[in-house]
Amino acid sequence: MTQAPVQQLDQIFVMLKHWLVGYVPAAAQPVVSSLLSVVAILALFPALFAFTTVLERKGLGRMQNRYGPNRVGPFGLLQPLADGIKSLTKEDVVPRTADKAVHFMAPLLLVAASFLAYAVLPVGRNMAAVNLDAGVLYFFAVGAVAELAVFMAGWSSHNKYSLLGAMRAIAQMISYEVPLILSSLAVIMAAGSLSTVEIAGRQAGYSGIWPHWYVLTPWGLAGFLLFMIAATAETNRSPFDLPEGESEIIAGYYTEYSGFKFALFFLGEYLGMFAISGLGITLFLGGWSAPFSFLTWIPSWIWFFAKLLALIAVFIWMRGTLPRLRMDQLMNFAWKFMLPMALLVMVSAGVWRFLPHGVLRWIVCFVMIAVPYVLLGRGLLQGKKIGKRTYRFAE
């Protein structure tokens, strides 16, 4: 087997795993193989979480004309270490009236559910922990467990703010799951498969230098934007951070958590964000494939993480800019804008498939999405009489 060094680099982790698994008896090999994948996920993504917290704080800082953390370690990169020590040494406060068992289990369940989602994410060529046939379905099923964890946290704290936060969170997550799944359905239709590995594989080809990413079609772009908006809401990130809107309900469902449990919630939230960004990358941004055909020499896993970081940067950017929505507006947006748009994207994806290649299908698909967008947007704003105003002046 003579492989080019580039390909070797691309597959270095796969080969490493094979090599390690080779040392154990054949009977134990499947178990060890999955264990290795699990360990990799458990090591990698929390590390990414740590890194992201610094990145987020520094990025936000720069947007706000300040430095962000810069005292611990070079450029403040060791800040998460200090934060971790702090949260570990903090007193773990459990309210007296709390339901102790449920209160304890909620953060664990949240983190566990978030970790489970990574099983089906192909982070590189041949690099998915499991190639499930119903991978996308699995992803959403596991994501649904997070809602339960949030409810448990909010209810068990026996605090009204927690309960309000949990109610908000669940209502929001359920509402945005619909456009989230619908917009991924367009991709599933186009790819003809529910398997994440398969979907990523479908997008790995090139026409000229351009990749076959679904985002590079009108319906794909719209679907991607819808998916990301829904993902922001799913992960409770600004501007959809109502469940933990600190200016309204303190910290929402984790008001009564402190110390390491609080850190676990934090971890769970970020893991959810990475996972859903990972799915977005897999579905729309070609997974691990390079953006141009001449860049394929860069290892696939680098591409995946580069895209992941880029998406996280967008999350941070939005957080640094936007104020929060209100609950009813959030719901209106989900049901009156996101849902019809997601359905249209599906239809548009079907049309795209059945129209012949050429300019025509670009125009048809674009119009199919752009016109309703403008109309729905106008309806959303002017239905509530929202717009810029002019003011009069007294001399």
Partner: protein, 190 residues
Amino acid sequence: MLGEGIVKGLAETARNFLGSFVDEERLTTVEYPEERLPQAEAARNFPFLIYDGDDAEKGLRCVACQICEKECPPRCIHIEKSKDKKPDYVGKQQFYPAVFDIDVSVCMSCQICVEVCPFEAIRMDTQFELSTDDRFGGLLWTKAELAKTNEYYHSIHPTEAGETDARLDEEKAKVAAKAKPAEAEMQAKA
């Protein structure tokens, strides 16, 4: 169109984000213990007592008139008048404060004491790194801690100190001028 304002806002934060790497204006943070801004000359924090010469006891300008004690809005000054007298800067016999305490935990840095002092004896310091682990004793400053030289005053508020000195010199000259005829008279009498 929906999203227009949001995109504009995003552009603005992006501009600030990128600007923070190139533009001094967009990254205003001063990293405090290492970097310090120059202090404004008018800056004020807590009061101190000025003395002339080297001896804090002898050169203290305060004559224990207790005006500042009365006028101090939060009443953080405590003065006990001396029994004996000592000469002030013009040589006149004056009382001096046997005790002069300021409770800086109460002081609100308002500068009223400075304004009402007719003897140019109390001024505002600019020192602000004053943390202490003694909540009561450490924040009650006695005469010894409060007394600072006129040179120190010049170093923190040069303009104001110059004006003060000029005023004092003028007064000294006046007293001297008054004293001279008196002396001459004395001599004439003699």
